[in-house]
């Protein structure tokens, strides 16, 4: 078949030999339709050959010739000329390398400039009021605190403060709850840590301190670090259930290593004195601003078990919130109160520095507001136990109360205790910054199930009915 086609092609082209041509013509005489086909193919050939020729545009060879001429003028080396004409790839390689070096240099500069921000994450929370009740500070009432100076304040020679509204009442930037932000300055961490320091409400500070020391955790050394540990006090009417929840939470949390501090066996079975207040009254006592003398409760002898203490490392603000939330969803009727504060209260070794007063009825009146409790094991340090340490970072005043949040079984926030805010500890953007820190978690029992107490709350501004005319 291919030979026949080749022969027919040669016949059309006119270069077939005589014998072959005679053979083809003989066949075409016998088959007129084939002759017609061959005639059409010859006509096709003539049509294609009759197509006009088109000259190249003027610039087809000009650019190439220009390159050739330039190569002649610049360099006689044929390789060099060939490279110029043939489009050497070295310029492209150099360009890519230059871009790469530029990007690398830029990255290096950025790394050097932003180096401090690339350290382990620091968590920022917006201050008030929608965030975690534990960490959040109640909104600052600028009218209520006109005398608190801030860093933004400008004091004129005449004493008139300029830009008060901006300095005091300016709302903090909105940050989504739980959002993370990069630390802007290391010193802000310590400032922000100081922001959450409030009074402890521990029943037995000295016992807990001793237990920590016995377990090998040097609380004093830890608080000297840049990121001092925090103290989470969990008051629960059902400590076993709360302990189980804490244990489960710590076990299931990523990034947290924890251990349970063994209890002091000498203190477990010795009765202690605990104010008998029911849960509602305790809540009220936590909510209301308390001063010495405002609360007088009859101390009812009772037995208080030793607190459960956990040491957790790598504790973040989100995890603190999560723990608080998990504790708030107890299935029974237990009431849980969680407060967070600096663990420096545990590092203080002068428990007797705080004064304590006892009224004649035996009620404990502490300088701070937490319900005092004593364990017999710490009888020698009873004064320290009764007087809740008010040693807080330098910017905290003894009158400050933690933003303790009372939650019922439905985990609803009942109230925030009033808080005095020292603006000097706030970060410039109005947010609090927390690093992953160690946390000392103390689960202690409250007397919610105790019988109705003989307690009376007498606000200082409101006279008692008996005294009213």
């Amino acid at each position: 078949m291919e030979n026949i086609e080749a022969m027919l092609c040669a016949y059309i082209e006119g270069d077939l030999d005589t014998a072959g041509r005679a053979q083809i013509e003989k066949h075409l005489q016998e088959n007129p339709q084939h002759r017609k086909l061959i005639q059409e193919l010859i006509a096709m050939r003539d049509l294609v050959r009759g197509l006009p020729r088109v000259k190249a545009p003027l610039d087809v060879g000009e650019s190439l010739r220009g390159k050739v001429e330039r190569s002649i003028l610049l360099d006689d080396s044929p390789e060099a000329g060939r490279e110029r004409i043939g489009g050497s790839r070295w310029p492209q390689i150099f360009a890519v390398a230059a871009i790469f070096l530029l990007c690398a240099s830029l990255c290096l500069i950025l790394y050097r400039a932003l180096g401090p921000t690339l350290r382990p994450p620091v968590f920022t929370e917006n201050v008030p009021p929608k965030l975690s009740p534990t960490f959040a500070t109640p909104p600052i009432d600028s009218a209520a605190q006109p005398s608190i100076p801030t860093k933004q304040e400008t004091v004129t020679a005449g004493g008139a403060r300029l830009d008060d509204r901006k300095a005091v009442a300016a709302p903090p930037p909105m940050v989504a709850p739980g959002s993370l932000a990069i630390e802007q300055h290391p010193s802000l961490v310590s400032q922000a840590q100081q922001q959450i320091v409030t009074l402890a409400q521990l029943n037995n500070v000295e016992a807990i301190r001793r237990r920590l020391q016995n377990s090998g955790y040097d609380i004093a050394n830890a608080t000297a670090n840049a990121a001092p540990p925090v103290l989470m006090v969990v008051d629960s009417t059902d400590p076993p259930a709360t302990n189980a929840q804490v244990t489960q939470f710590l076990s299931n949390s990523n990034g947290i290593s924890w251990k349970r501090v063994p209890a002091d066996t000498q203190a477990n079975s010795i009765p202690t004195t605990l104010p008998s207040v029911n849960s509602d009254q305790q809540m009220l006592s936590t909510i209301a601003p308390r001063k010495a003398g405002e609360i007088s409760a009859s101390a009812v002898p009772t037995t208080q078990p030793a607190s459960d203490v956990y040491i957790a490392t790598g504790f973040t603000s989100q995890q603190a919130d999560a723990l608080r939330q998990s504790l708030a969803v107890q299935q029974n009727l237990a009431k849980v109160q969680v407060s967070l504060q600096s663990a420096e209260v545990l590092a203080t070794t002068q428990p007797s520095a705080q004064p304590q007063d006892k009224d004649q009825s035996g009620a404990v009146r502490a300088g701070a507001a937490s319900p005092p409790a004593t364990e017999p094991s710490e009888a020698a340090n009873s004064s320290a136990d009764l007087a809740v340490p008010t040693t807080s970072p330098s910017n905290s005043s003894p009158g400050q109360l933690s933003p303790a949040v009372l939650m019922d079984k439905n985990s609803s926030v009942l109230a925030n205790s009033p808080v005095e805010v020292n603006n000097s500890t706030a970060s410039p953007d109005g947010s609090k910054i927390l690093q992953p820190v160690d946390a000392v978690i103390v689960v202690q029992a409250t007397a919610a199930s105790a019988p109705a107490p003989a307690i009376s709350i007498t606000p200082a501004t409101q006279p008692s009915p008996s005294t009213q005319p």
């Binding site: 291919e2 006689d76 004409i85």
Partner: protein, 237 residues
């Protein structure tokens, strides 16, 4: 370098419609080829002015062939430049076994076929006035139109004859553009470029018998494309 012009090249073109395989054209072709080979050898030895002469010598012919292959003047121009560029890059591989133009044409034809495979476009182009190109764009082939007018005036054609010839050429070009690349290549090499069988075999790397068979089938395919036109216009000789 500038002594080699396109006009000089056109004077060296084989007579239109006659393949350069005849004896008369053979002697002139041999002389021309010897001179071209000498230029190529000079260029390969580093004489870049010799390569410039080669560019001037071949640019019109190569551009015309590539234009018939791809149908788009702009693409043909780019392919022509790319062919010369690659020819200079690979000039060391020229052994002188084939014609220098055949060697360059092979490069250009491979580029054109690759371009056609990439685009997969059907091109329709015109020699006169504004027309629709293969890519659907209307363009004006000024050079072709001017050439048509010049040839028409030289032949003393009547306007009706010139119009009929332009229509016929347009039909042929349209039919060529609808052929596949292999058939189009052999037809252009044989009927447009006037290659002999050996040159075509060198470019396509085919045996002669296979080449002739492909050429015959290409003519059949073109005839099928032009069958409606042939039935009305073409009278068998």
């Amino acid at each position: 370098m500038s002594s080699l012009s396109g006009a000089q090249y056109e004077a060296e073109l084989p007579p239109k419609g006659v393949p350069p395989s005849g004896d008369a054209a053979g002697a002139a072709g041999d002389r021309s080829r010897d001179r071209e080979v000498a230029l190529f050898l000079k260029a390969r030895g580093g004489d870049r002015s010799a390569y410039g002469q080669i560019v001037v010598l071949y640019q019109d012919r190569l551009f015309n062939a590539l234009l018939r292959m791809v149908g788009e003047p702009e693409e043909a121009r780019e392919l022509t430049q790319e062919t010369f560029t690659r020819g200079l890059e690979k000039i060391e591989s020229f052994r002188g076994e084939s014609s220098p133009y055949t060697w360059l044409f092979r490069i250009g034809m491979n580029l054109a076929i690759s371009s056609l495979r990439r685009s997969q476009r059907v091109r329709v182009f015109s020699l006169d006035g504004a027309s629709r190109g293969g890519n659907g764009m209307v363009h004006r082939d000024d050079q072709a139109s001017a050439l048509v007018d010049r040839v028409a005036s030289a032949k003393g054609e009547q306007p009706a004859q010139a119009a009929e010839r332009r229509e016929r050429n347009q039909m042929v070009l349209d039919a060529l553009s609808r052929l596949d690349g292999e058939h189009r290549a052999v037809l252009i090499m044989r009927d447009v470029e006037g290659f002999d069988y050996q040159q075509m075999a060198d470019v396509l790397a085919l045996p002669l018998g296979t080449l002739k068979s492909r050429l015959f089938r290409a003519r059949l395919a073109l005839r099928d494309e032009l069958a409606p036109y042939l039935s009305d216009k073409v009278k068998p000789k």
